[in-house]
Amino acid sequence: MNRSRRLKLQIFRVIVLLVMGAFFLVPMGAMFEFSTRGNSATAPRTLEAWANIIKTPDLVDAIIASLELAAITSLAMLLLLLPTMVWVRLRLPRLNRIVEFLCLLPITIPAIALVVGLVEISRWIRINISDSILMLFLFYLVLVLPYSYRALDAGLAAIDIKTLSEAARSLGASWGIVILRVIVPNMSSAILNASVLAVAVVLGEYTFANLLAYVNLQVAIAYVGLTSATTSIAAALASLLFAFALLMILSFVGRPRRQRGVISAGKTLAPVQLVPAPPRTR
């Protein structure tokens, strides 16, 4: 590459990164600025809006509910998906394609469309099983299916589960032990990946909760926004930073494994959550 072209490329890169950086960071800064405003234009900066988050009972309830839902959903996802995926790979390989197809199917069904079919099921659950918001986990499982499947699939592809399980079985381990004590420890980063993605999806979910008439975190934030813009912006920023922290931890936890030289140089270092599917939180 000649010198003038290299210089031109550098200038191009700097300009692009500056413009994009501004486009993405200014709204974040603006949220912080907005959330610390006082009551009038001349009032001093205040953290009142942030304090209001915990003073608003609806918001606190919704935060707790969403955190519980996130934990339940990711646990249920692991319980449902992991044994099935291992089992299908080992004993029923002919079903592999069907399981994959079903797990990725939700990608082609917009959440707002799916919820139309779920409302009657939700009504039945509310009447016959429980009215609790925590029952939403049954629906959230569908939303996280494609992400979790891809994450776990990548983890299972990286280890030789056939040899591992045959070795364990020949030493007398039951299937439960094989999955819990042999396979799970060997794919811990994929499991972490799948769980964090599930948590991120659940914490940002609005469509299902709103249309099935449950108040989760996002619904509560939108609702508070009708009366106090500053409080809801503070809450939105807080929930956002929480999700950011989770996903950032994820993208750094996933790294040491790769640095051990499993993947050749030049191969993309993208975080493992790279899922070419439209996110489900909008």
Binding site: F34, I107, T108, L114, V119, F139, A222, P278, P279, R282
Partner: protein
């Protein structure tokens, strides 16, 4: 991800029992999964599909589908298409430029890691949060609005456009660009510097390189990713629901109006027909995306 040897080996192991008595335990292992998927994915899909052809009294009808032809519904489809196409195009172009700026740098550098991680995070940005971020930025008393006003620039001289379709399109680009970076980067990584050198050694200019080498190679990937972004915007509901509080300007809002309707005007049949139409459109777009991705992966890696 089945390795070539895996099915064969297990098949032979299972063969003796096949046709005779297959141990039922083997199949029991997948019952929970299929039961769940059947109840919460296939059943609702069936409810939507069946409900589209049934009227309020349970009679078979095509009325729900013909009702889509009403002007106000057609309008919402047009609006949905316009904002999806606009935000997909803007997102795809800007995202591709950003991806190129990153891909031309050190493949193991910090910049690349930060941008890809940040893209992963921003692409997950929830709709509600996004709306409040833009209200704080470009709302009537938003940070940027006020900042520019103090300098004599009124961005809302022709009315407040943030709460309309143009505002929605702008907000959509905020999640479209990072998604584009994530899905387009692998294609850019597949471009080898040798190809440029080869072009140059044959006397080709930068223009020739982009027009005859990199352009045609990247075109299917770019088109495919643009389709993905289209589907992404087309399916989005939360952003619009929080930003635009009244009326069914786009299809997702129309659906939620038709099925929750507070005035007792709920038309569940029509809501299901619209849901079905959305699923069909997104399925077609995603199928095209998959086909184009497959084409790209032929020369990638």
């Amino acid at each position: 991800m089945t390795s070539a040897g895996l099915p064969a080996v297990t098949d032979t192991a299972a063969r003796p029992t096949w046709g005779g008595r297959r141990p039922p335990l083997t199949w029991l292992g997948v019952v929970p999964f299929f039961a769940y998927v059947g109840l919460f994915l296939l059943l609702p899909s069936a409810i939507i599909a069946a409900g589209s052809f049934v009227d309020k009294d349970g009679n078979v009808t095509f009325q729900n589908l013909t009702a889509i032809a009403q002007p106000y519904i057609i309008k919402s489809f047009v609006n949905s298409a316009v904002i999806s196409v606009a935000s997909a195009l803007v997102g795809a172009i800007a995202g591709a430029i950003l991806a190129y700026a990153v891909a031309t740098g050190n493949p193991r550098g910090a910049l690349r890691r930060v941008v890809t991680s940040a893209s992963g995070v921003f692409a997950q940005f929830g709709g509600v949060t996004l709306v409040f971020a833009f209200i704080a930025t470009l709302g009537t008393v938003g940070f940027v609005t006020v900042f520019l006003q103090d300098r004599g620039i009124d961005i809302f001289r022709n009315g407040v456009w943030l709460y309309e379709l143009s505002g929605l399109t702008l907000i959509y680009t905020y999640f479209q660009i990072p998604l584009m970076v994530l899905v387009f980067m692998p294609a850019l990584d597949g471009i080898r510097p040798q190809w440029r050198e080869a072009t140059e050694s044959l006397g080709g200019s930068t223009w020739h390189y982009w027009r005859y080498v990199a352009g045609p190679l990247l075109a299917p990937a770019f088109l495919g990713c643009t389709l993905l972004l289209f589907a992404n915007a087309f399916s989005a509901y939360a952003t619009a629901a929080v930003l635009i509080t009244q009326g069914g300007v786009i299809v997702p809002l129309q659906i939620s109006n038709l099925f929750t309707s507070e005035t007792g005007q709920a038309q569940p049949g029509l809501a299901k027909a619209l849901a079905l139409a959305m699923i069909v459109i997104v399925t077609i777009v995603m199928t095209l995306y998959t086909l184009l991705q497959r084409r790209t992966s032929r020369w990638l890696r």
